[in-house]
Amino acid sequence: MSTTTAVWEKSERQRERERLRRRAAVRSGSIATVSTVVFVVIAAWAIVNSPGWPRVKETFFSGEAFAMSFPEVLAGFWKNVQIFVIAELLILPLGLLVAVVRGLKTPVFFPLRALAVAYTDIFRGTPTLLVVYLIGFGLPALNLKGVPSDPMVLAVIALTLSYGAYVAEVFRAGIDTVHPSQRAAARSLGLGHLQTMRFVVLPQAVRRVAPPLLNDFVSLQKDTAMASVIGVIEALRQAQIDAGKMFNYTPYLVAALLFVALTVPMARLTDYLAARATRRRGPGGGV
């Protein structure tokens, strides 16, 4: 029989276990390092020794062209950022509104609901590029008073309409994940349908859909490049112009790097939020 003692001294068995674990950790760490180095070296060697490398290096990695086009492409990229930020600020309320309208059950709202369904069906089904063309060239062609003709504004409208439909669906999925018993509890307290939505359902739904929403926004950041097709001199269009002038493709690389620099932080934030949501659902994390 063993006696119970208040002090715990690590047993020999446990110490041995921890020694083995440490050794295994060190081993897998060094394997990862070695394999990464080997992989990079082989890949670099293969590229640099490929027959086309000297030309690729010249046309895509020219330091001179990089330095020359960087300020201009950066200035164009500022337009991408503006389009992105304004569109995002419009997309969120639009998507939320459409999702909420689709959930209205009262017959009075039938026309609104039908409109919301038609909107999501049409804009989710149409390629974003096509929407940009249609809005960018179609709206001004109507010659209506008050219709904007600035291609930046038209690009924002087109992207907002296209992404609003996706975001509405994301919100709707989020609303559907809130258990009906939450609604029953809210209604039993005397809250009306819209109050129940606003104070009980939406706050829970929005938290749950934050990661997929951010994902859509990463893709919106890239799609701002579509503004180039209706005449906005943004990063991609500026890169095209510079490439044409210099007979060198390095400006494209500049544009690509700028887009990556913007989307990577967003992607990491998405990962972080998704991981946090998983942790919250895990044991001890509540609902």
Partner: protein, 248 residues
């Protein structure tokens, strides 16, 4: 004196299957009515109909003489006078305990936030939950969550409380603390209808016990009469089965 609540010939069907078959029930002010009956006998459905969470398919329900099943009645207004507590607590997970409690007083009854918070704290203190006011529901035990749910329903000063198997999801040692709260409500004069599987508690607290069987209110009487001398063979059988299960 006319009853606080009158249920008259209430029918409810799901997909053509009758779940309530012509229920008649009167509940007087300050009366505590316990609904007993096998799982699926219609206890929850009856409570949900009274709170207008379900639409009655026939019959009528009157609250203080006013027909609440009238198609012109405003369900949101009716529910303001009725508190409901659910088996699974249904607290709002994104709100603190105090926010759960003050939501309806502020948003539905238009009370100033500070006043609602003060009333909320008072109620939480009365049920030993004041130190939990700032916590989120998932940090509370089941018993504490259910007591918060009761406080939340009380915060709008209801005339009638509906409690649907409020102890069924709780570990045995937590049941007592919730039953204690309900007992205190009875002492304060609250009118209540509770669906319950706790026969001992029903016997102890009820003024009237109703036995539901397949959507029919088969037998109604004092706890004395129902538990010691049930008229209906089905009631006798149900009670025997419950007591046998208890003995296992």
């Amino acid at each position: 004196m006319s009853p606080l609540l009158r249920v008259e010939g209430l029918w409810k069907l799901y997909h053509g299957n009758p779940v309530l078959r012509g229920i008649d029930l009167d509940v007087n002010a300050h009366e505590v009515v316990c609904l007993i009956g096998a799982s699926g006998s219609g206890k929850s459905t009856l409570l949900r109909c009274v709170n207008l969470l379900e639409t009655a398919d026939d019959g009528a329900i009157f609250l203080e003489g006013e027909e609440i099943t009238d198609v012109r009645a405003d369900p949101d207004r009716v529910r303001r006078g009725i508190g409901m507590v659910f088996q699974a607590y249904n607290l709002f997970p994104h709100m603190t305990v105090l926010e759960n409690v003050t939501l309806a007083p502020v948003r539905v009854h238009g009370r100033p936030r500070a006043e609602a918070a003060e009333l909320g704290r008072e109620l939480l203190a009365r049920f030993g939950l004041l130190d939990k006011a700032g916590e989120y529901p998932d940090r509370l035990s089941g018993g504490q969550q259910q007591r918060v749910a009761i406080v939340r329903a009380l915060a709008v000063r209801p005339r009638l409380m509906l409690l649907d198997e409020v102890t069924s999801a709780l570990d045995p040692e937590l049941v007592l603390e919730v039953l204690g709260v309900i007992r205190e409500l009875k002492e304060s004069g609250m009118t209540m209808i509770l669906a319950t599987h706790e026969m001992g508690f029903a016997r102890d607290i009820a003024d009237t016990v109703c036995f539901l069987d397949g959507g029919v209110l088969l037998e109604k009487g004092t706890p004395e009469q129902i538990f010691t001398d049930p008229r209906e063979p089905r009631t006798r059988e149900f009670l025997r089965r419950v007591l046998d299960a208890r003995r296992l």
